[in-house]
């Protein structure tokens, strides 16, 4: 009798979710096994990468992060197009940074106009990431849900505080919501239950477990995603059977280690290589834990991660 590898018995399945419309729509989720454990179950959709685009010219990016987008960085729609046309983006994540009340605090209508420009300029699925300010987002994301009607975009972060306002509009205009909770399995589940009670269909919910960058709490996010998946797949916890999205680029690129140059400290080595690796490792780790969508910044990091996912899925 030959040796048989012991296998985990799965009883659940991650909800399959479609974002975007038409030929370029992206499907995520659907797994019946742990991430990349394809010898134990099905993983019909690989982890996807969304290129981040800011709604306003960023003023604190490293030169080497600006470089790939230098010609378009002042124009979100052009930026998004370049990401697709030049770097092969399959999804765009529009970060509504300028709307943040603690920053520029641009009026809702101005920001909504930027969203409209971008959504009309591209044909790949769009993720729209608000300010994480509950009140502003409640207002902003509701309007965005409306103007993006028919585009099946993903809007978030939706919190326990504003899920009712945003959730209701998302139902009305058929958008996907990203349910955001602070690194806790139970809180994630609670928000999913609340969204369900509100009437948001299961196939319209992504989970954002809150992401820390490499060296800045990544392991917490990792553990929580891992536990989400265990509950979803082996403990029949239907309320946790949602794909996971991780908004990691901003977390990685703002760290000190992603900013210091080789001149600041010789031991740290080349800053470009270093920050790209930091972003790649963060993204790959999260994909291993179970992230279905990772939001990234640098085309080189994206390339590395895409290759690796490709190999694992091959």
């Amino acid at each position: 009798m030959g040796f048989e590898i012991p296998k985990i018995k799965y009883t659940g399945k991650i909800q399959e979710i479609t974002i975007g419309t038409g030929q370029k729509a992206v499907r995520v989720g659907g797994a019946t096994c742990y991430p990349f454990y394809r010898f134990e179950g099905e993983m019909p959709n690989p982890a996807r990468i969304a290129f981040e685009v800011w709604d306003h010219r960023p003023d604190d990016w490293q030169e080497w992060a600006i470089e790939p987008y230098r010609d378009v960085i002042h124009d979100p729609a052009a930026w998004a197009r370049k990401s697709i046309d030049v770097y092969g983006a399959e999804m765009i994540a529009l970060q509504l940074k300028s709307a943040d009340p603690n920053g520029m605090d641009r009026p809702v209508d101005d920001v909504v106009r930027v969203v409209q420009d971008v959504v009309h300029a591209i044909d790949v699925p769009l993720i729209i990431w608000g300010t994480a300010n509950d009140d502003k987002d409640a207002d902003l994301l509701r309007k965005i849900a409306e103007v993006c009607e028919g585009k099946n975009v993903a809007i978030g972060p939706v919190s326990e505080k504003n899920y009712k306002q945003i959730g209701a509009m998302a139902i009305g205009y058929g958008q996907v919501v990203m349910a955001s909770t602070p690194i806790d399995v139970n809180l994630a589940k609670q928000l999913n239950i609340l969204l369900g009670n509100l009437g948001v269909p299961d196939e319209k919910v992504l989970m954002d477990p809150t992401t820390g960058g490499l060296g800045y709490g990544l392991e917490y996010t990792y553990s929580v995603i891992e536990r989400d998946r265990m509950a979803a797949l082996t403990q029949e916890d239907v309320k946790l059977q949602r794909p996971v999205v991780c908004n990691l680029a901003h977390e990685v690129w703002k760290t000190r280690e992603a900013r210091l140059t080789g001149k600041d400290d010789e031991k740290l080595g080349d800053e470009i290589k270093r920050s790209i690796l930091m972003e790649s490792i963060t993204a790959m780790s999260l994909a291993f834990a179970g992230a279905d969508i990772v939001i990234m910044r640098h085309p080189e990091s994206v390339k590395l991660v895409k290759e690796m996912i490709g190999e694992l899925m091959g």
Partner: protein, 689 residues
Amino acid sequence: MPAYTIKFLPEDRVVAANEGDNLLEIAMRSDVYINASCGGNGTCGKCRVKIIEGQASAPIHSKVSREDYDAGIRLACMTTVHGDAVVEIPPESQVDRMALRRKMEIPHVLSAFGSTDFIRGWKVDPPVSKRYIELQRPSADDNVSDLRRLEREFQARYGRNEISIDFQVLKALNTTLREAGWKVTLTVIETDRGIGIINVEPGNTEDRNYSIAFDIGTTTISAQALDLANCSVVKAAERKDNGLDLCTLAELSDYNGQIRYGEDVIARIMCAQKKGGLEKLQKALVKTMNGLIKELLSMGGIRAEDITNIVCAGNTTMTHLLLGVSPKYIMLAPYTPVLASGVSGFAPSGAATDANGAPKACEENEAEQGASGIVIPPVRVKDIGITLNEYGRLFVSPCVSSYVGGDIVAGVIGCGLFQKENVSLYMDIGTNGEIVLGNRDWLMCASCSAGPAFEGGGIKFGMRAGKGAIEQVKIHPVTYEPMVLTVGKTKPAGICGSGLIDIVAGLIETGLIDQNGKFRRDRDTARVRHGEDGYEYVICYAPESQVERDIVITEVDIDNLVRTKAAVYAGCKVLLDNAGLSYGEMEKVIIAGGFGHYIDIERAQVIGLLPELPLERFIFIGNGSLLGARLFSFSRGFLREAERVARNMTNIELSNSTSFMDEFVAAMFLPHTDQDLFPGVMERLKNGG
């Protein structure tokens, strides 16, 4: 030199005050009680008073509306006096002590089990008893000492060695014996360290042996006077055999006089560390006890000299403060009390059961051989300041750890958990939630800081289960109008624990709140509105209430209640996990605590406080601590058993538990994040909401 006179209404008490004195402090020192639970720092807003006339100044405060302010309403703790004044204490700021006197009623939901006998196989054998003896008169042939004479007769009658006698008794022995014609009654105390003679009185007084059992709570002190001489198990069988009412002559409660020094045990410990603080706290507590004793004596028609002993059960901090021992290290890691043993004269002895498996708690009347360890003999009540008589003894229930005290040990004895063959769960829900799991072979316990929500703390209109407290509420599923019943059927003054459970259960069942405890604003009712603390539901409009304000429950209140119930549920869960057990395996879930006069189990399940088990598995015993204390007084076997139970109970520190926080967050949902645990509730919510 007192400059002003302040008159308090409605008591009509006139007291002296100096320029700039704080009104709440004036009230405190003159024993005028104003409801103030924040210690006087203006945060609780409960000490509202009305300045009828005179000079008193207070800043405008967020807890007093403009309209009230103009009508003379002030917070006493923020008010200083600058002249003679007349101050009215409105009903909501008074403490209704009469309401506390009500005897616990068995809840209707559980009435079928009210008469269950909790305890098996015990007989009346009080630790302090009276023995009548007649001595031979001394003669020329027999001129041994008075003491030897006493000893000789006592040994002849009772065949005991290891006899001791109080030094104090000797002083009057010669006159007492002679004046009584050599016919005297000895009061003796029997412990692991032998038998002690603590009093000698003339004549036969064997039928006058009384005791007082105390539950010393952080908030409330309850006491019962017991007739030890006339109590027998035979008599018990004729009456309620549940040990609740057996031979009780009188029962009373009062607020712990220490409340003025802080609402919870931590505040008290802090206070005890200040100079003179420990003495102040000890005196305040004893003063409350003395007051209760006085009233009990007159209610029961008992003479002070016939009370032979007092038995107290309280949490660890209260136990320390009662004895005047510093509780300082109870609050500092790694949380060590000075003592956990009881003041009982007993040491924990070996096995709980005899060879046949029968509990031997009360069948072994002789001092057990091999009892080991330090024994703390009962102290004279006089020595801790209790005004009673010269010889009466004080017994104190043993504790387990810094946060699982003698009240819990007494409760475990009182409800019979320690005798059960199958595993049961005991939960005492007060300011702290304490949980005990186990059976006659093993016991585990934990304490979780649940918060005082069920006693009315941290709830805007929260109050203890006194007169006017809303205790039952039903909300109409279509009109959302509430049906309200109060304690004493008076106009509502506030909401007590059982009322809170009803209200929150009603809100969730009717869909007025979501499972996270937040109001849904799309329901067609004016009762849900935006108030000064966010969204709220009006239970009772001002004209119908005693307090002349709308009685509401706010989202903040619901948050606090959810936190409290989550801590209790999570504590139980962690304890069960530690033992590798589940709720389903519990023979009984025994609930003790001061929710009110009843608890509706189904409602408590809707909010996820209690697990979804068949109703017959639940027992509500009310004050478990008092129940145990009275048993100690009736039978000394229980005192030894308590020492054993306390010593053998395994304490799980939830603060060190990695899973507690997780379970807590999971339980912070209505009824619970894991909805599979509450299938019945979920079904009801689906059909109703």
